[in-house]
């Protein structure tokens, strides 16, 4: 446990949390049982291969885990306390009943408010936390209108008005990166923004639990998030009805209720348990700010990529992330093709792992490695063509093209819209160096 120099209550609590975390990690870690002899044998095989190939380190076969599927848009950013804790709460075997005295607006009061806003029906499994609770206020009930139980929850949070976070809460996720049924984002007469979303608890649809949400952000920085499921809990509960109990319009009526804004106003400023990043007086200025990594912005990358496309393709849609990653969906007249690119500075340290002995070296020292294989998301018939490059200064540009407009959808054409040669021209363009 790290040394704590102060004896404030916060420090004692923090120490306790760290102790528990250590214990819990050991319990969790110990529950993973390895096939040790298999690992040792496979490790030795790799070692021998490494010795044989020397400089070309083996990059493991199953290591290509594709995580971009739900990437681009922050549907559930972590600035607030909303979603994760509900999932955890939903899993608890004995839900904590809402308290009467945990803040100016108590957990019990919030549950009462939620119930009043819902249509007639039966309620069970009531949970809630008040505005004074360390983890932030929320209320959740299981509501049954006679057609089967469905969990309904509301969580309340304060956001910085006009901030990126405030914007992201009410911005519909990028359909190219996440699959869902319906989403609208609109501005209300009081200048609040509202997102109504109909999607799934598991974006990969391994279980068909539907998750419908309404997120409202007011100009004053109130953030209210109401969610409902067609199951009695968001996870680990069977689907109990075709759709969640409230229509989108009913969901909207719940989220815009003024009582929630009053409750958010009652949250103390800077309560304990909020994100403490950058607020710890003992923490020196960070050497790096993990949320805004250095690197070219996604918008610039997207623009540059578009400027390098061959003339016969049109850009249908585009998107990306804050830095280093962008994508375009292009069409050459034969159907959509997803094109993604990473522009990553300072990758020299892993150069030898990415570019083996079979990589080509251009006259200016740039290394080029190419591959043509199945797509990362496992969708039917999808191929992914990749050209990976690294300049002598460590700048890596890797571009991939797919024979589908969305990575997790089945193939819609035989090959991607760009040839390997065209991908290679884009990846090795001098423009990337000039972005700085």
């Amino acid at each position: 446990m790290p040394a704590e120099h102060h004896e404030s209550r916060h420090d004692v609590d923090a120490g306790l949390f760290e102790d528990r975390l250590g214990l819990a990690l050991r319990q969790a870690g110990d529950s993973f049982e390895a096939d040790r002899s298999g690992l040792v044998a496979a490790g030795e095989v790799r070692g021998r291969r490494l010795l044989l190939r020397r400089r070309a380190a083996v990059v493991g076969g199953v290591a290509a885990v594709a995580l971009v599927g739900v990437g681009g848009t922050l549907l559930v950013p972590w600035g607030g306390a909303a979603d994760g804790q509900q999932s955890v709460a939903g899993r608890r075997s004995t839900p904590t009943p809402p308290a009467e005295n945990d803040g100016r607006v108590s957990g019990a009061k919030l549950v009462h408010t939620l119930k009043k806003l819902l249509p007639q029906g039966e309620f069970s499994e009531e949970q809630g936390r008040g505005t004074g609770a360390e983890l932030g206020p929320y209320a959740q009930v299981v509501f049954d209108d006679g057609k089967g139980p469905g969990a309904v929850s509301v969580s309340l949070n304060r956001v910085e008005p006009g901030s990126e976070e405030a914007r992201q809460w009410t911005q519909c996720p990028d359909r190219n990166l996440m699959s869902y049924d319906r989403c609208t984002s609109s501005r209300l007469s009081d200048n609040s923004t509202l997102m109504l979303f109909q999607g799934y608890e598991y974006p990969d649809r391994r279980v068909d639990t539907k998750r419908w949400t309404a997120d409202l952000v007011t100009p004053q920085g109130h953030h209210i998030s109401v969610s409902e499921w067609n199951a009695a809990a968001e996870k680990d509960a069977p689907v109990s009805r075709a759709n969640p109990p409230l229509s989108t319009d009913q969901l909207k009526q719940v989220v815009i209720a003024k009582a929630w804004r009053t409750a958010i106003d009652a949250i103390p400023k800077n309560p304990k348990g909020q994100e403490s990043q950058g607020q710890d007086p003992n923490a020196p200025a960070p050497e790096e700010t993990p949320n805004t990594p250095p690197g070219t912005s996604g918008a610039t990358i997207s623009q540059t990529l578009a400027s390098l496309l061959p003339k016969n393709v049109d850009v249908v849609s585009k998107g990306g992330q804050e830095t280093e990653y962008a994508y375009l969906v292009v069409d050459d007249g034969k159907g959509k093709s997803f094109l993604q690119i990473n522009v990553q500075p300072d990758m020299s340290d892993v150069e030898h792992q990415l570019f083996g002995a079979d990589a080509e070296t251009l006259p200016d020292g740039t290394k080029v490695a190419t591959s043509q294989g199945p797509g990362e998301q496992g969708a039917e018939g999808v191929v992914m063509w990749t050209v990976d490059t690294i300049r002598t200064n460590g700048l890596r540009v890797v571009i991939s093209a797919f024979n589908t407009g969305r990575q997790h959808d089945p193939a819609t054409r035989e090959t991607p819209a760009l040839t390997m040669e065209q991908l290679r021209e884009i990846a090795t363009s001098e423009k990337w160096q000039q972005l700085g």
Binding site: F32, L39, G43, G47, L51, W78, V88, R92, Q277, P284
Partner: protein, 171 residues
Amino acid sequence: MRLRGEDGYAEFAAARAGHLYRSACLLTGGDTHLAEDLVQETLGRLYVSWRRVSRVGNPAGYAQTVLTRTFLAHQRRRSSTERATDVLPDLADPHSAADDTPLRLTLVEALGQLSAKDRAVVVLRYWEDRSIEETADVMNVSSAAVRTRCVRALGRLRVLLGDGLSEYAAR
């Protein structure tokens, strides 16, 4: 045929593979397939440099360092970008303990919600019991960066786990 300098490697690998695998499972937020891959890669690298490693002392610590760096390098190598809202890993692992309670899933899943570097800090500090300076050394970052990440990661875990952790630890 044994390679020169291979003595002791097999014994070491057999003794440490289980621990490395468990570390890797926590690092990957419960992605057992990736964890296996990382451990194999780590053992492979140790095999190559075993003669030097075994002479230096503390090969177990060295192995953990290789594992962490292999994991972080893997995260960078992926040609896509990680987000905290990424798909959750496959937790249904037939090799897992039978009493695979939701609480265990909760902690592992919460770890999975952290960024790769934050996860590495948590695993090194609270599973490996490394000091701030040792953690910084393993991750090739300053100790200030480790402190910042640690504060942030603990803050997030507190939010994600809530009361669940005290119930967990009390089991």
